[in-house]
Symmetry: C2
Subunit: 515 residues, 2 copies
């Protein structure tokens, strides 16, 4: 049952800005413009205008001739940014992306991708945005914007906008009351953020916007193109088990409260498994301070073990969104959505003593991690908030299966390598690594002790002897040269990676070092 | 003219803890103990007890038999930690060090060095400290400790101490009033730090301490073993000039205030040249939020251009300490010394919008930097506060000469390399690189654009063609493989480094890639 547009645009004077036919807005758009969209992890992004522009390009063969510099809090949808990428409509893209075509565009060198922390520092050189398009679920009587299931960078994009287009989604319920909009003053003499507990509310429930900047309001009845969550596999279940056991130990030692510190968990299979494990686990009155709320959070709430979740986005599968809307009143007071400058703020992650958990591409024996570039060069989705959380959390945990398959070897890639081909998180910031094999607690260990612990606890049995031999040969070589702090053989540090191209696997037979 | 000990120990009951002969404290010390010292960058560290222990080891041939796990805010002195290293008295050493022998011990694999951010996150696994030794310049009537020219980790060490020994230095003036001791509550539900301006004072001028933990008070008349500052060379002067010109441009563009944002500058030659340049420069009412106050700060004050400097340590040459003490009343209200958890707090560096400037070992064409490990393995001094500042500042700037000499080639080492052999700071965090050749402003640039800018502006002319060829060959290779985000050739990424061992220079003749 859809609402009427008038019931969602509560400021009567703004009804005059409603545009029935979005194609009449085409003259607003020019090649080379800077554009911002609402949205975060594929929810709450604008659809009507981006799809209209994509159709315009496709129908008039304008591929590569109408290109934009596109800024979105995190990823948008397959029906928008990925379709734009396919149409060669994107020049620059910041700061995070998801989609087959956009990845291809970046790695073919067509799209210039700026891989930034989601809580990007306020950079004074930043460009104004010519047009910002925001999906809203309501416009209040004051003319303020109520977003939907994500906040992301919407507050900051509005501050930087020359012109604003609002897509009011009447298919979604109004999310009014779920948000806490407390966005940073961007200049000098900023005051402290007063949030000290996960459930603190310090801001407004909607976003003020200059009505003179609003050039159009359009109605939308399109859904976010979210996908069903992946089924849990055995490896994710084992990882989840190791982490819950670690938590139990920390509680037993008196280092964690019985309700655990506030938790951050990343996106995907393993993150979902951890939250699912917690839903069935021994901890109650848990609080979550994270970026994204995923499917298994509903179970966690339903089991009565999760008290409150603060995030910048709710990214459910279509099925779980239905479940969420059906029991809106049961969940609405347990979720707070904030701007990503707040969810990912160093100040708050640090103050709250968050436990951060994320999945890397690979990590190395000394505890550096690569979250972005396969083989040092091929971009996946970008850093996202992993750096914000891992750098500032009280516990920083990285989890991944110990191997991934290649075309010819089901264990062709070891996610534990001698040296990362790209470093996004350094040894100085990471405390704990977990694979299906086990958990390595690196706190208080120096590099060579860390290497032994990582290989021993986390590496796949097929790779243990290979990595151990690298460590031993490196140690021997560096002892001769008095460089024993973090032993490496620069000539061989990437041999396992190079072997993939030659032989389809990281399982090298010999380090080819004279012993 | 020395003070009497009684005039500095203002709480009469504590005079009963005074120990005349420090050797009577020998029974307190056992092999394997965890020990903390006050001190930061070679000032304010205890001398009497560490030197007594060193003499004990030397006189009784106990080298390697009486070893300690040693925690100091940052570095201590040549007469203490370095002498200990020579005597093989150090097992673990955290989180920063300076000294020929301690470096040698780490790189020979004898000393286990934990290279940590100076504002290390509160790690719940951390060990109690058996004995903590603090240098003070006064003990107040309440029995609280007034440190000298550094605060560093003293507050936290005292919180973790089982036993405390205080060395009261009667040769130094009392520093009472210079400090602002506002140290973090370490548990949950911490409140915001209320500092919003460089000159805010929110704490006490001395450190509370449990009198029952004080096992001894000894008098000290030893000076810190600081060294004269290095003379400015041409390269440092050029770098300083580029940075001042950049500031002037930013002010002109309206992106910086005319008094500049609060400045952080690192330690050494270039940092001293920058501050010296500012003392003669066009900016006034400048404020400094940094770790260490160095010699040229006195000129900056004397020129009337520096309003206030907040730091955790004053590290002057002996000559400048004399100048400082002689005009104590002129300087005392313009300097605030804080704990390193405050000077280096992410929350505050971020809120104040600091400009951070530090020197790396090397940086790469895509903008990653190595601050610690030469050739990926050989430890210099450690990360220090560089990560705290560069990650959280509004402007993050790295400066270094474009080349360094080897034994056979005056330009044998390029500080700009294809890929860093160790990454401490990532491309996501660094804005500007400066060498004597010029300044590369990377804000808003994507990796391949950054590489061109860095090579063009910063690389030494001898290395420009070599690095350009690496970029071009890598781009060609990665284009074929669709990995164009950050092109590399993993097989050749360290060829310049490997060439040093073979031929004494990074000037390679050929990349040996089939073209």
């Amino acid at each position: 049952m859809f609402s009427t547009l008038a019931s969602r645009v509560r400021r009567p004077s703004l009804m005059s800005k409603v545009v029935k036919d979005p194609t009449t807005l085409l003259p607003l758009f020019e090649d080379g413009m800077y554009m911002g969209w609402s949205g975060f992890t594929g929810v709450g992004y604008p659809k009507i205008i981006p799809i209209m522009l994509a159709e315009h390009v496709e129908q008039n063969n304008l591929q590569g001739k109408l290109k934009f510099n596109l800024f979105v809090g995190a990823s948008s949808g397959a029906d928008t940014e990925d379709r734009w990428a396919k149409n060669n409509m994107i020049d620059r893209r910041y700061p995070h992306q998801v989609g087959k075509n956009i990845q291809a565009g970046i790695n073919q060198g067509r799209i210039r991708f700026g891989d930034k922390h989601l809580n990007t520092k306020d950079k004074p050189k930043s460009h104004n945005l010519d047009v910002v398009i925001i999906e809203a679920t309501e416009i209040t009587e004051e003319g303020f914007i109520v977003p939907g299931a994500s906040v992301g960078a919407t507050c900051e994009l509005i501050q930087m906008a020359d012109k604003i287009i609002i897509e009011v989604n009447t298919k979604l319920p109004s999310f009014k009351g779920l948000h806490d909009m407390n966005f940073y003053h961007r200049g000098a003499n900023r005051k402290p953020n007063l949030i000290t507990r996960v459930d603190d509310r310090v801001g407004m429930t909607s976003i003020p916007v200059d009505p003179e900047k609003i050039v159009a309001i359009v109605e939308s009845t399109r859904s976010d193109a979210t996908t069903p969550s992946e089924p849990m596999d055995e490896s994710a279940a084992l990882i989840s088990g190791h982490i819950l056991e670690f938590f139990a130990q920390e509680v037993k030692q008196g280092r964690m409260p019985a309700s655990l510190p506030p938790l951050q968990s990343g996106i995907g299979n393993i993150a979902n498994a951890i939250i699912g494990g917690l839903a069935r686990g021994p901890f109650s009155n848990v609080r979550v301070w994270t970026e994204v709320i995923q499917d298994t959070f509903l179970d966690f709430f339903d089991e009565g073990k999760l008290d409150i979740a603060s995030a910048t986005s709710i990214r459910f599968s279509p099925e779980c969104f239905d479940r969420f809307y059906a029991r809106w009143n049961d969940y609405k007071d347990k979720i707070i959505l904030r701007p990503q400058t707040i969810s990912n703020a160093a100040e708050l992650i640090n103050r709250l003593g968050v436990v951060a958990m994320n999945t890397p591409v690979e990590f190395d024996i000394y505890g550096h991690a690569n979250s972005t570039c396969v083989m040092g060069s091929r971009m996946l989705n970008g850093l996202g908030g992993s750096g914000d959380f891992l750098r500032n959390s009280k516990y920083s945990i990285m989890h991944t299966p110990s191997t991934r398959p290649t075309k010819t070897d089901p264990h062709g890639i070891s996610t534990i390598v001698p040296m990362c081909t790209h470093v996004d998180h350094t040894e100085h910031d990471l405390d704990v690594f977990v694979t299906e094999q086990g958990l390595a607690d690196l706190r208080g260990l120096t590099p060579r002790d860390r290497a032994r612990e990582i290989i021993d606890k986390c590496a796949h049995p097929l790779y243990k002897p290979i990595l151990t031999e690298y460590l031993e040969l490196s140690t021997k070589a560096c002892m001769k040269d008095n460089m024993m702090h973090e032993p490496h053989m620069l000539r061989h540090a990437f041999d396992m990676h190079l072997n993939i191209k030659d032989k389809g696997t990281m399982r090298i037979e010999d380090w080819n070092v004279s012993k």
